[in-house]
């Protein structure tokens, strides 16, 4: 824990530098048709209490039975986090009273989680990569939801989420800035989506973070931490880390000390507020759930799941760099979403892969971002973009014309090859026509000819004139060659 602090990450306080230390508990809803211990549906958005079994409502005499699909999803995630898979784990009860917790306890894995230590490689910037350690991953039940806005005097409870499987993924305190925190969650979400074990949808609450923040002087031991509960967007996670660290630094620099407590982040005010102190902390009275036997499986079970896993982002990135010869950062951008990577591969296959990467990242992603589309709803398909790249490679159109073509395909659709024909966008490679234009311009500008012969960089001016005359359709290479020959430079 006392690795030397990275000077660029430190926060300047009034009395010197501070280092932020962050660890996170991510609650990721397991993608499964039914709940962790009951057959009720996990669909989002049903009428209140429409997806509730007798078990979820904790009726007398009801018993939990493990949903094997949730176990598989947890193991798949563990493999994706390069983590130790525990062949034996146990379920414990976490006891507390709350109306949205019908059993009066949450079934969780306290002592022996299904997944142990692992790691996540995180690209923070195009040039900086960090490794965040995973402490553990365990399975637990989600609670229901209290509804306080239905009646002036009563609260209601919706148990649709009660019993839905969550994976709690606990990181080590390896994160040193708000930027790293954001990048970590982004990467984790990418991995989960690749695996298909969590949809990563933060708006619907499928992914929530408890963020543990502390600060310390560089080189010192860990400071007292505060836990910021239930932050539900990546942007807010970054903001919460930032404001909480500054709050703590303010207190410490004023000679105060940090109280270990649970806090809430208020995005509207941009501050964290105390929720409960350590003294008010619950005594959860954990003990092994006697309704459930220890969960045991063998290595063959793990191997079967591992065999069927899709290629994960880190491996895909390495393959893209190796097979397509593209840069690390570009590869990282392309693999951030499985759909983007698939799109890129469809464009790159059998084509100039670097050119394909440029077009996907710069033209397509840029435009998608600007217009609020994602890759799945892209108006330009991989086939269409591939055709544009083909037309450039074949010398049919220039790069500049290609951008115009992209614009037409984006707004109007159509087959790029046909569009080039019907709209007369083809590059002029007929040397006769180009030569005529070159001759005309040389003849009309004897002064410029002299200048160019004295200073060959003037050639650009002539190229521009020729392109203007040919409506941009002249092959730039042919223009260049002809001009050089005619001007004798």
């Amino acid at each position: 824990m006392n690795a030397p602090a990275n000077p660029s990450k430190l926060i300047k306080g009034a009395t010197g530098d501070w280092e932020i230390v962050v660890g996170m508990e991510i609650h990721a809803q397991v993608s499964s048709r039914s709940k962790l211990f009951s057959g009720a549906s996990t669909d989002f958005g049903g009428d209140p209490n429409s997806h509730v079994s007798l078990v979820d409502a904790a009726m007398p005499g009801m018993l939990p039975v493990i949903n094997e699909e949730c176990i598989k999803q947890a193991v798949r995630t563990g493999i994706g986090l390069k983590a130790q898979i525990n062949h034996r784990s146990t379920f414990d009860r976490k006891n507390y009273f709350y109306p949205d917790l019908p059993q009066g306890y949450q079934i969780s894995q306290y002592k022996s989680p299904i997944v142990g230590e692992g790691q996540v490689i995180v690209d923070v910037t195009p040039t900086e990569q960090i490794t965040v350690g995973i402490e553990r991953l365990h399975l637990e039940q989600d609670a229901g939801k209290s509804l306080h806005d239905q009646s002036p005097t009563d609260s209601f409870v919706d148990l649709n989420r009660s019993g839905v499987a969550l994976m709690e993924i606990v990181s080590k305190p390896d994160i040193r800035s708000a930027e790293e925190a954001r990048a970590y969650v982004t990467k984790l979400r990418t991995i989960l989506r690749y695996l298909g074990t969590c949809d990563g949808n933060m708006e619907q609450g499928s992914l929530r973070a408890d963020v543990n923040v502390s600060v310390r002087r560089p080189g010192e031991g860990l400071g007292t931490r505060c836990e910021i509960k239930n932050v539900n967007s990546i942007r807010f996670i970054g903001q919460a880390v930032e404001v909480e660290a500054r709050r703590q630094i303010g207190i410490l620099e004023d000679g105060g000390s940090i109280d270990q407590e649970t806090r809430l982040f208020d995005p509207a005010r941009g501050e964290t507020r105390s929720m409960r102190s350590k003294e008010e902390a619950h005594d959860y009275r954990y003990f092994p759930d006697p309704d459930l036997l220890p969960l045991e499986f063998d290595e063959a079970f793990v191997e079967d799941l591992a065999r069927d896993l899709p290629e994960l982002p880190d491996e895909k990135k390495a393959r893209f760099m190796r097979d397509y010869g593209i840069a690390s950062y570009d590869a990282g951008v392309l693999v951030a979403e499985r759909a983007s990577a698939d799109f890129y591969e469809a464009v790159a296959k059998g084509r100039d892969a670097k050119m394909a990467a440029n077009w996907v990242i710069n033209e397509l992603f840029g435009r998608l971002n600007k217009e609020g589309h994602d890759i799945v709803s892209s108006p330009v398909s991989a086939d269409q973009l591939g055709a544009i790249v083909d037309l450039i490679s074949e010398g049919v159109i220039s790069g500049k014309i290609a951008k115009d073509l992209f614009e037409i395909v984006w707004t109007e659709g159509g087959d790029p090859r046909e569009l080039v024909e019907t709209r007369g966008m083809k590059q002029v490679t007929d040397t006769g026509a180009i030569e005529a234009a070159v001759d005309a311009i040389i003849a009309a500008n004897p002064d410029k000819v002299a200048q160019a012969q004295a200073k060959p960089t003037m050639l650009g001016w002539f190229v521009g004139q020729v392109m203007k005359q040919t409506g941009g359709k002249a092959n730039p290479q042919s223009v260049n060659d002809l001009l050089k020959r005619k001007l004798g430079i």
Binding site: P99, P102, G104, F287, L293
Partner: protein
């Protein structure tokens, strides 16, 4: 036939099969007996309409040759089994008005095999008690009369607070009393620390707690999940064997329920026990054990020896620690299992100014004092700082107790013989009012069996000096209920069937 309620379950079954009797007649006779016996307070709810409809359906099936193994046989159901549309409260106020729209697996199995439900039986609240005095519906009286009392006195006592009448034991006191008073042919019961065996012993009936996992717990109101197990109380060993065969079996809805075939237990009745090794554990010879219990035990040994069994002395060294460990494990699980009774979704709700006070008001009003005591003990032993000293140690003791039995069985012991209880039935209001431990000591011979998850049967073996029934307990290997039935039927036969009391109520 004069009084068909005097038949055993097996006799009634045979009479129905021989068409000497109809299920409706048999059921009506029981409903009539129940009506006359309301003073005993064995039933908390009678379901005559349902019973007669089920009986009529049974008669039709018998007529069409489609009878199940329990076709037309009227039984009582302990109030902790969920019965669809019928009072299911584990005799607690907190489940006020609760009628589930589901049926427990065990009762569903019984109805599948043709049994007829007469009603729900009284019990200690949430099965916490050894005398049926903690029920929200009041104590149950045993049909057995205390020494020196006659029916006239007892009838008066029934009208009052029942003080001086005998307890039927608990927690399955309603089941035991109803079976002993001929208010059903048999009854479902449940056993967490002795709740089948102790009341059976107190009432001169037979009760078996099968191996943990033999019966599904789905739909049984939970007390202590790792110890709770369903089982029958009936008037003979054979009747218990018949009932258990229907009650037992795999259920995917209970993760602790075993997937193994259910033997025809009745076939083991009367099977020779020649050469069977019966262990006598020296640690069960406790200080201050009454001479009549000593004698009962010796008689049991003599019966088995005479039947050709080999008697061996064994040691179960951790027996002494079982009771204290049990009173940590069971309350710990109970404190968590009973958290769902919070006034939010079903049962009693006592309003409060906020959610916290609603919880407090509801649980204070809804739980009786014994239940509250055990919830507090349970919460305490699980709390931070005490967990290791209490809960973890109790679990270690549990392992040692199990190992004690494993060693004995590894030496070739087939079953272990002990007294079922340290005394005969005591009077209502007599025990535990100042010191709850006095009541807990009733379970001293039975809790070890639950802690080890083993099968145990209580069978009447003689009478006390006061003329009250006394029972012996046989403890078996895991899932070897058959040996218990064989050995218990030898004791039953040798001791002679207990003459159950004639109605005075």
């Amino acid at each position: 036939m004069t009084d068909v309620t005097r038949l055993t379950l097996a006799e009634a079954r045979d009479a129905l099969a021989a068409k000497k009797l109809s299920a409706v007649e048999l059921t009506k006779a029981h409903l009539g007996a129940m009506e006359k016996a309301r003073g005993l307070n064995a039933y908390v709810t009678e379901t005559p309409e349902q019973a007669l409809a089920m009986a009529a359906a049974s008669d039709a099936r018998i007529a069409s040759g489609a009878a199940g193994p329990l076709e037309g046989l009227p039984i009582g159901v302990k109030d902790l089994y969920a019965t669809k549309g019928v009072h299911t409260q584990a005799c607690s106020h907190i489940l006020d008005g609760f009628k589930p729209d589901y049926e427990s697996t065990v009762t569903a199995n019984l109805w599948r095999d043709g049994a007829v439900m007469l009603g729900k039986l009284n019990m200690d609240e949430f099965a916490m008690g050894s005398s049926n005095e903690t029920s929200y519906y009041g104590p149950v009286a045993s049909p057995w009369l205390p020494a020196g009392r006659d029916g006239a006195w007892a009838r008066e006592a029934l009208k009052g607070d029942k003080k001086g009448l005998l307890v039927p034991g608990g927690s399955s006191g309603g089941s035991a009393s109803a079976v002993a008073a001929h208010l059903c042919l048999g009854a479902t019961a449940s056993d967490t620390g002795g709740s089948i065996r102790q009341p059976a012993a107190f009432t001169g009936t037979v009760g078996i707690k099968p191996t943990y996992g033999r019966c599904s717990r789905w739909g049984m109101v939970a007390f202590a999940s790792s110890l709770d197990q369903a089982g029958p109380i009936a008037r003979t060993v054979r009747d218990c064997a018949i009932m258990l065969r229907s009650m037992a079996g795999h259920d995917a809805k209970d993760a602790t329920c075993i997937d193994a075939p259910v033997p025809d237990y009745e076939a083991s009745i009367g099977r020779s026990i020649k050469g069977k090794k019966i262990g006598i554990p020296k640690e069960y010879r406790i200080d201050g054990m009454p001479a009549e219990i000593e004698k009962l035990w010796a008689d049991g040994v003599a019966f088995l020896k005479a039947a050709g069994a080999e008697i061996v002395d064994i040691s179960l060294p951790h027996t002494r620690t079982a009771l204290p460990a049990y009173y940590i494990v069971a309350p710990a699980e109970a404190s968590s299992n009973l958290a769902r009774y919070d006034g939010v979704r079903y049962g009693l709700r006592v309003p409060g100014k906020d959610i916290q006070s609603m919880y407090e008001n509801t649980r204070r009003a809804g739980f009786g004092s014994e239940v509250r005591r055990r919830i507090m003990i349970g919460a305490y032993v699980l709390s931070a700082g005490y967990y290791d000293a209490y809960y973890v140690r109790a679990q270690k003791i549990r392992t040692l107790i199990r190992q004690d039995f494993e060693k004995a069985y590894a030496q070739g012991v087939d079953a272990i013989l002990t007294p079922a209880t340290p005394s005969a039935a005591f009077g209502i209001g007599e025990k535990g009012s100042t010191d709850p431990v006095e009541m807990y000591l009733n379970d001293v011979f039975t809790v070890t069996v639950n802690m080890a998850g083993l099968p145990g049967i209580a069978v009447p073996a003689g009478l006390s000096a006061d003329g009250l029934p006394l029972g012996l307990q046989l403890i078996g290997r895991p899932f070897d209920e058959e040996t218990l039935f064989s050995v218990a039927s030898v004791i039953e036969e040798s001791a002679g069937r207990v003459a159950l009391p004639q109605p005075w109520w």
